[in-house]
Amino acid sequence: MAAATTPAALAEAQRRLELRALLQKKYKWIDGTWDLVFWITAIFVVAGAADITKQLFAGDWDFWTDWKDPQWWPVITAFATIIIPSALQYIQWAAWRFPTGATYTAVCFFMAAWVGRYFQWHVAESYPMNFVWPISTVCAAVILDWILMKTKSFILTSLFGAPIWALLVWAFNYIPLAPFLQPAHFMNHVLTVSDVQGIVYIRSQTPEYLRHIERGALRSFLGETQYVSLAFGGTLAVAGYWIGQFIGRYLAVWPIRRYLKTL
């Protein structure tokens, strides 16, 4: 950085020095405990918001392995899971300049999803965990936060980060899904292991025809449905990212600022 020469530049340099001092100031009453209290209490709110949003848009795709298909799963899931991370990304970046909003949401969501899935669906309902495991968005969130840290721009993060989010959410969860896509011989048919799970573990109110999965369309792209879906999912994730930004900016931060101004 060139040395400040004009009075305005000198004033700005001085202001930034004061801000540096302010950042390093030791507060007597607002110590690190307050930080801890904030981060821990927010876990439940953030996990709940992330989980509910996912349930609303992509509930069944996340619940069952036999719904995790090449056509719909990459599209719906990316959109449903980026909304709250985006909102938290704005809040935490704007308030503290932390590139942590997406990762924090993903970590909270991971814990809530596994606790819920284990106790409600495995222990209480006795579905095996290898059939009802929840997806993880943590790795995609780390990269999304990394992109925000590097670009310092929500626009660039939405343009590059959201499609990468769609790709990574799918890629990370496709790895544990892969064994369940192996062909098996069952009832004189060739089915995937995930199909067999869907048949064997009875869901009386979720008949097979309800599955929104690929049924033979989109086959003109050399059979590579998932890449077409990923491209579309990436575009949709950009929209999801801005829905999250709207929530963060106008439903979270703006009312708080307005309230603070009235005090």
């Binding site: 950042l23 290898n130 936060d145 544990p176 067999v196 025809y209 999965i213």
Partner: protein, 505 residues
């Protein structure tokens, strides 16, 4: 809400006083007792020392009348507000304890709803849509891992209500409380049916399912058919007891590679460890920022900066932060590359999920044997008695008899106990009385009165009592001397013989 939960009847209707009474009374008594327990609980003893200025407080906490100096009166006034507030809080707390006790009582004493809610469905949804018959569920006492076979037929009735989408796709499955059984085999009209199939009005679908006991317990097992746009329609059920077994439940599945896996646990550990490893990277990311930086107090600085300013000179995001975040992002990518390489090498053959839908072979309802013209029906709610009048013409050259009337999941048999035992699960079979009882001669047209008295009507809510469609439908099963049979659809309006007063619309 909690209190009304206990009212859920086993089949989805609302229970009567005998079922709902005990839990409500018990929980009410519990709430009452707890309320007075809290009210009469002795107050904490005054532990103040004789020198304590507060020693003159009386039992309610008010300062005792002093010797008249002004300071004492001031203090009294200052204490009055908090004391009144505390009393309010205390009374609310007592009420809360009583409500909690009531709620806990209601939950604990509620009877468990075992069955599947079919009584909650509108009568027309059961009567006019399908009819299940010849259902068998056996054996009814097994050990974990042993099979139960469910067989029977379901007909999509020609009387399918116009208020529902026409039946096109369906899925036959066991209706059980969750995966307490595991489905091993399923055929529809003799064809293996792992998925859904196409149906039409008038279609007859013979099913066979083999389920394996998975969880010990006593479970209500029904066959059911889910029709797209309509939901799951339930057939007659049977209680099946699954005894524990020394051996752990396993479900072997053979992959096309030749490998046999246990579906119950296959790759469950990998799913968890893979997800958890990714989670750890996220935790590391969060720990770095929350431990290496202050959080709450940053706001004083960030509020004075533009949102695109990460202020490395001020210390908000430093080059050191960038370095460590690069490391974690790099680790994430490395993890993904390793994971993909592993998955691609270990599971080289992968398929998309399969959707094998088919049209089952046609099954005839039997050679034309009789012509049926209904002339109305009445239903007596007090005695659960259905009376139907029908005109039947024998179209064959030998005498025919009316053997059964099949309605939704119930079968009513014109015969003895042996005939009834063969007709289906006991709880869903009743007696059919036909007047006159003599056979219908070839070419003869006869007016018959069918009388059925059965609790199934009210338990399963089969008869419309005040519905927009006061109709019932079912199948009349005729048989001739050569044991040939025909199922004829019957649809008739039904008039309740009495109407109950309604105080609410």
């Amino acid at each position: 809400m909690l209190a009304s939960a206990s009212a859920a009847h086993a089949h989805g209707g609302m229970a009567g006083p005998s079922e709902i009474g005990p839990p409500l009374l018990t929980s009410g008594a519990l709430g009452f007792a707890c309320y007075w327990l809290v009210m009469l609980w002795p107050s904490a003893k005054n532990r103040r020392t004789p020198d304590d200025p507060g020693k003159n407080r009386n039992a309610t906490g008010n300062r005792a009348r002093s010797n008249g100096n002004g300071q004492s009166n001031l203090r009294k006034s200052a204490h009055a507000k908090p004391v009144a507030h505390l009393k309010k809080v205390e009374s609310k707390m007592r009420l809360l304890v009583a409500i909690l006790a009531f709620a806990i009582g209601a939950i604990v004493t509620s009877s468990i709803a075992y069955a599947h809610g079919e009584a909650g469905d509108e009568p027309f949804l059961k009567d006019l849509t399908t009819a299940f018959y010849d259902v068998t569920i056996s054996p009814t006492d097994i050990r974990v891992g042993e099979p139960v076979t469910i067989t029977g037929s379901v007909r999509i009735l020609e009387t399918w209500p116009y208020t529902l989408s026409p039946p096109e796709k369906a899925y036959i499955m066991p209706v059980v409380p969750g995966p307490v059984f595991a489905l091993k085999e399923r055929t529809v009209n003799g064809t293996a049916a792992p998925g859904s199939f196409f149906v039409e009005k008038g279609g007859i679908y013979q099913f066979r399912m083999v389920i394996l006991g998975r969880n010990p317990g006593r479970w209500h097992v029904h066959p059911g058919i889910a029709v797209e746009g309509t939901g799951t329609l339930v057939g007659p059920g049977e209680w099946v007891t699954v005894q524990p077994s020394a051996a752990k439940f396993v479900f072997p599945v053979t992959l096309l590679s030749g490998q046999t896996i246990n579906l119950n646990s296959y790759r469950g550990g990998f799913v968890w460890w893979w997800s958890f490893a990714g989670f750890l990277i996220g935790v590391a990311w969060m720990l770095y920022w929350t431990l290496m930086h202050r959080t709450v107090t940053n706001l004083a600085v960030t509020i004075q900066l533009g949102v695109n300013d990460d202020a490395p000179d001020i210390g908000l995001i430093t080059p050191r932060d960038h370095m460590w975040m690069n490391v974690l992002a790099g680790l994430t990518i490395i993890m993904l590359v390793i994971g993909w390489t592993y998955a691609a090498m270990k599971y080289p053959v992968r398929l998309p999920q399969q959707t094998d839908w088919f049209t089952p072979e046609y099954i005839s309802s039997g050679e034309k044997m009789a012509e049926v013209h209904p002339s109305g029906a009445t239903y007596d709610d007090a005695t659960d008695t259905l009376l139907m009048n029908v005109k039947v013409k024998n179209l064959r050259d030998s005498p025919i008899n009316l053997k059964q009337y099949i309605m939704a999941m119930a079968t009513f048999v014109n015969g003895n106990n042996d005939d009834q035992a063969k007709a289906g699960p006991h709880d869903y079979v009743g007696q059919l009385e036909v007047e006159p009882s003599s056979a219908i001669a070839p070419g003869e047209t006869k007016d018959l009165t069918l009388k059925i008295t059965s609790k199934i009507f009210s338990e399963e809510r089969l008869i419309p009592l005040r519905d927009p469609q006061q109709f019932i439908a079912g199948l009349l099963r005729f048989e001739n001397g050569q044991k040939q049979q025909e199922m004829v659809v019957l649809r008739t309006s039904v008039i309740p013989t009495q109407f109950h007063s309604q105080y609410l619309p």
